[in-house]
Each structure stands twice: as structure tokens, then as C-alpha cells.
Symmetry: C2
Amino acid sequence: MAASTETLTAERILEVTEEVLRRYGPAKATVVDVARALGVSHGSVYRHFRTKAALREAVTERWLHRTITALEPYAEGDSPADERLTGWLTALFALKRTKAGGDPELMATFQVLIGENSAVVDRHEQHLVDQIAQILASGVRDDVFAAPQQDLATTARAVFHATDRFHNPAHAAEWTSPASEAAFDAVVALVQRALRP
Amino acid sequence: MAASTETLTAERILEVTEEVLRRYGPAKATVVDVARALGVSHGSVYRHFRTKAALREAVTERWLHRTITALEPYAEGDSPADERLTGWLTALFALKRTKAGGDPELMATFQVLIGENSAVVDRHEQHLVDQIAQILASGVRDDVFAAPQQDLATTARAVFHATDRFHNPAHAAEWTSPASEAAFDAVVALVQRALRP
């Protein structure tokens, strides 16, 4: 059904773009496909996103941002910071495994898009590291964590890197291994010990 | 020049196999190529390695074992265990970067062989983890490290996994980033803090 340009929001375009990407794959999907699926002219899509690259970047950002939103309760909650850190890392690992295992086609699609948009990925990683830093800061305030010897941002990034194996898609093949759960617990225990006062 | 079968050692075959693999690539290299390069019949090669798969496995093992040998001084040295651990991790990162950057063709070849031989890789990882455990054990003995809350083998594997970003070939593309040196230092500092008494 044709949508009038009045009701055509950027969010609606992004929703449909994700569907089109999933259906045609990142190599074949075009702005014309997106316009057709929306029942509008491609000019209407370009009014919201000036180039195909801008549209692809925005849809990638939206996809990545779902992770940030899902992790917010751990970054901002009231429970002790050490528990929130373990919760945050556990939730991130679970989200990534679900994305990789539950919808491998969409995951592969976004791996291509991510490869095109290193700036988007850098911003996303910074978001995740900021959430860790937020947990660390509240932990230091409450004496759950020691004041870090390096600055907080560096320590937060080190925590992110030390747990790479359990969220970086480069390791997705290992996530189905039965040993990965115990390996995760051991690394989290190591990280927690490093932060303890 | 033809080598008589008397002087044809397994080590000599493996040396030449590595050269042949580098030259023809892992998809094309055959036992006949190896025999020809050695100036012997392929039967002479099969007398040492019963199948092509066995030969490929042995050459992979030999390649991986060079890393173990290079790291031995850190695993067994007399200097304080915390210094040896940082030295071991630094040397491993340097070796991997050199392999990836210095001879990308051979690296790519061995990535293919490694994919064929998960048991070899498991044994190699276990070797590396054993070296870390050796450092941790001497550190606990000398009160440089705290007695681990988890058993030593689990902690050693956690240290190996926490530093994955700096030795796992899945991350090779990131190793040339100017930020990777500082990222490495921050993760090592985090790990050292986790082990301190």
C-alpha cells in the first residue's frame, strides 16, 4: 500500500531498508527497492537520506543502537556496580550470540555494512565503552571498585578488550562451543578481581 | 640435487613442504610437488608421513611450535613472574604481528591448514596456556601473584582469553592500528592487577 510522503518518516524508511537488505542482501539492495517496498518514489527516500551510503550508514547505526538500548538498564541501574558489570557483560554476550545464531543472514548482512562504515563502528564501540565507564565510576563512588590506576576511560576500554572473545563477531564461530560459558565466567572473574578495592 | 633416502629426514621433508606450500598455496600443493622439490620419489615421502593429511598436520604443528620455543625463556626464566608474564604476552603479540605482517602469504597458508586441523590448534593453545600456568605457579610460590581463587589452569586460560585481541589471528587486521599498542598495555595492566596479592 502506498504511503503518502506526509507519513513517510526516517524511522519507517529504516525499518523497510532493513527488510530489503535482509531479502536482497547488501550487494543487491538498492534505494529503488526500498522505495518500491514503501510504495513511494525514490525521490521521497532521498528527501530523508541524501545518498545510498547515508541510508546504509543510518540503518547500520540503528541496528547497533538496539544493543546500547538493551544494555542501558545495567549501565544505569541501582544494584551494586560489580553485579551490574557482570550483568552487562553477560547480556552483551547473550545478545551477540542471539544475533549470530538466531538470524545469521541478517548478521552477515550487517557484517558487510559494518565493514563499509568503520566510523559507525567506532562510535558504537565508544558507546559501549562509555557504558562500562559509567558502571566503573559508580562502583568507585560506592567503594565496590578500587580507584583505577589508569584513568577510568582507559580501564573501561581495557575491560571491553579483555572480553572481546565474548562480543566481537570475529569470534562468533567459538560461541557455540560448550566450553565458552565456563571460559566467559573465568574471564569475568579475572576482570572483577582486577577492579576490586 | 637428489637426496638419497638415507639422508631424507622427517625434518627435511617438513622444511621443503613449508616451501612448497608457500609457493603453490595450500589448495594446490601435493605430495608429488614435495617429492619433486626433494628429488625423491613420493613413496619416500610417504615412508615418513603415511598420508597427505598427516604431512600437512605435521607441518602445521612444526610452524606453531616455533612460537612455543620462542616463548620458552619467559615461561622458564629466573626474573620475577610478573615481569615474565608481561614479557611473554609482549613477545607473543610481537611474534603474531611479525607473522601476519612480515609474511602474509605464509600466514594465509597456515590459516587454511589450521582450519583443517582443529586438534593441532587445541594442542597448541594448551601448550601456550601451560606456559602461562607455569609463570603463574612460580609467581604464587614467590608471592608475586596471589593464590588464584579459581584453579591455576582456569586462571591461566582466562589470561590467555583476556588477551585474545593481541594474539588471535581473527584480530590481525587491528594489529596495525596505532592505538593497538596502548590498548595492549591497558589490558596487560588489568590482568596484572587481577593477579597481584
